[in-house]
Amino acid sequence: MSAFDEAIARDQRVEPADDMPEGYRKTMIRQIAQHAHSEIIGMQPEGEWITRAPTLRRKAILLAKVQDEAGHGLYLYSAAETLGADRGDLTRRLIEGRQKYSSIFNYPTLSFADVGVIGWLVDGAAICNQVPLCRSSYGPYARAMIRICKEESFHQRQGYELLLTMMRGTDAQRAMVQESVDRWWWPSLMMFGPPDADSPNTAQSMAWKIKRHTNDELRQRFVDMTVPQAEALGVTLPDPELRFDAERGHYHFGQPDFEELRRVISGGGPMNEQRIARRRQADEDGAWVREAAAAHAAKLAEVAR
């Protein structure tokens, strides 16, 4: 048994300098990079509302949240770099469409209620997905996830608190919240990925302890957590099949449209093009700035020699 297999079997962490199978390294880089890309692309849908936030307190909260997402992206790219990846190369893979990010960010934000609903549902689903990753076998990723989950949890409560406040407001605001929940519910359920039967990478990822629970287990967990919160809020979740199954001790829910998920993941969602175009534009517009910084640093290094 190799040191790597032994570490996995004993639930110990794999660290950057340890030997690891090439497949494990590649899978980890892909997973961490996709997560980092999701944080960076995920700044866009809510970022669009910072300049329009209706109170200065909400503006500060939203700005701080979007800044946290940039911070998460930064730790995650750093974690990928411990495996030999390069941030610039990963960014190119993102803007050339060779690496993916979470499907949820390909939906548009149409009202300020979306800021609250994204906090509640999207960050809530992200937490369900990510808490088990705090026990990922790869040490730097697992440690980054502990901090990220803490912050995500804070964002989720802020989002929910915004919705509670809006629900105590005018009829127009309550309608705005319900309309937003109607749009985001199904895409949030899709964040857990395809059903287990169609998830080819799950078995290997579970064996390597990169992943701890299947997509369907996590989806169920999210629904069980969220239904009572929806009731407390006073909104209806747009699923006629939704009911508590006393026998199983879980909520029964309808099947998300996985064909839509497949379309959105393969680039056909409503906002895919704009999201990537914005990221590409920032990268291109910033190229001369990065070159200038590198040239200045090289001159300083020359002087120091």
Partner: protein
């Protein structure tokens, strides 16, 4: 650690403050006396707080527009951080003005029209590229740091406390901007040209920063405000030091040489509510949601 325990840990609310960076859940001015000092005109104090508060609010808005557009992830974080600090300063100053005017920070931010805003016109200018942003940020925060440094001794205890908090933030902002002025000025031929163009474009508009408004004159006489004309020396010293390091000194005209937009003249600028079309655009965007939902609570 079990699956369930990890979720449990997330519902532990005891350490929220640690995760609430910059969102101002605690009042940094708790315990600071809010009475307006005797022989100080309360309306003047409110106007002065609006001047400094609007500078920060509008500059913060322009920085918010850079979110997701920065050249590098580290700058994404830094620019958002500076925008958040300035927004925090704006909130404290508008709240102080609101104590006199009997309204809230949100009334002042979302219910005033263009001509009610008191920021200098440079704060509302849109940035064509990163060099333009850096040039504008550098001159505005250098001016503001010099002003806040003096205001820490203001006879208005509230203003002194706001300034003391702001000085630490602005010191970082000036350092961030100055480092980029140097990197771009010294970096490549292209970046040198762009930085030089940006500095040239921003300098004429700095004249407004050093014009003493009658409100500032009266409040400076009672030890509440700082006379901006007195900040010019410190400002020029910082400017020449940084621009020299950036190989951009001397600039092709004296710092603060005034040129005014058509129809404007000395003493009739942003401090009196005369703005460029840029501010109207900022306010249409900033106030859109607040104004679209009458009676809304957020």
């Amino acid at each position: 650690m079990s699956f369930d325990d990890a979720y449990q840990a997330l519902t532990d609310h005891d350490d929220d403050a640690r995760w609430a960076y910059g969102t101002g859940f605690t009042d940094p001015l708790a315990g600071v006396p809010s009475e307006v000092p005797p022989e100080v005109d309360a309306a003047d104090l409110a106007s002065y707080c609006l001047m400094l508060g609007d500078d920060a609010l509008i500059l913060s808005h322009r920085l918010q527009e850079w979110v997701t557009r920065a050249p590098e992830l580290e700058d994404e974080l830094a620019l958002a951080n500076i925008a958040l600090d300035l927004l925090g300063q704006a909130r404290l100053l508008l709240t102080r003005a609101g104590q006199v005017l009997e309204c809230s920070e949100d009334d002042l931010a979302f219910r005033r029209d263009t001509t009610d805003f008191r920021n200098v016109c440079l704060a509302e200018r849109a940035d064509g590229d990163f060099a333009a942003l850096i040039a504008r940020l550098f001159v505005l925060v250098s001016w503001r740091l010099a002003a806040f440094d003096r205001l820490t001794g203001s006879r208005d205890a509230m203003l002194a406390a706001i300034a003391a908090k702001g000085v630490k933030e602005l010191t970082y902002h000036r350092d961030y901007a100055a480092q980029w002025v140097v990197r771009l000025g010294d970096g490549t031929a292209l970046s040198h040209d762009r930085m030089a163009t940006a500095i040239s474009a921003v300098m004429p508009a700095t004249a407004e920063l050093f014009e003493t408004h009658p409100v500032e004159e009266r409040l400076a006489a009672t030890g509440v405000a700082v006379d901006p004309a007195s900040l010019r020396h410190e400002f020029n010293a910082v400017l020449s030091e940084v621009l020299t390091a950036a190989r951009l000194w001397p600039v092709p005209f004296a710092a603060g040489t005034a040129t005014y937009p058509p129809g404007r003249h000395r003493g009739s600028g942003g401090r009196d509510g005369l703005h460029t079309a840029g501010l109207t655009g900022v306010l249409v965007e900033m106030q859109s949601v607040a104004r679209a939902v009458p009676g809304g609570v957020w």
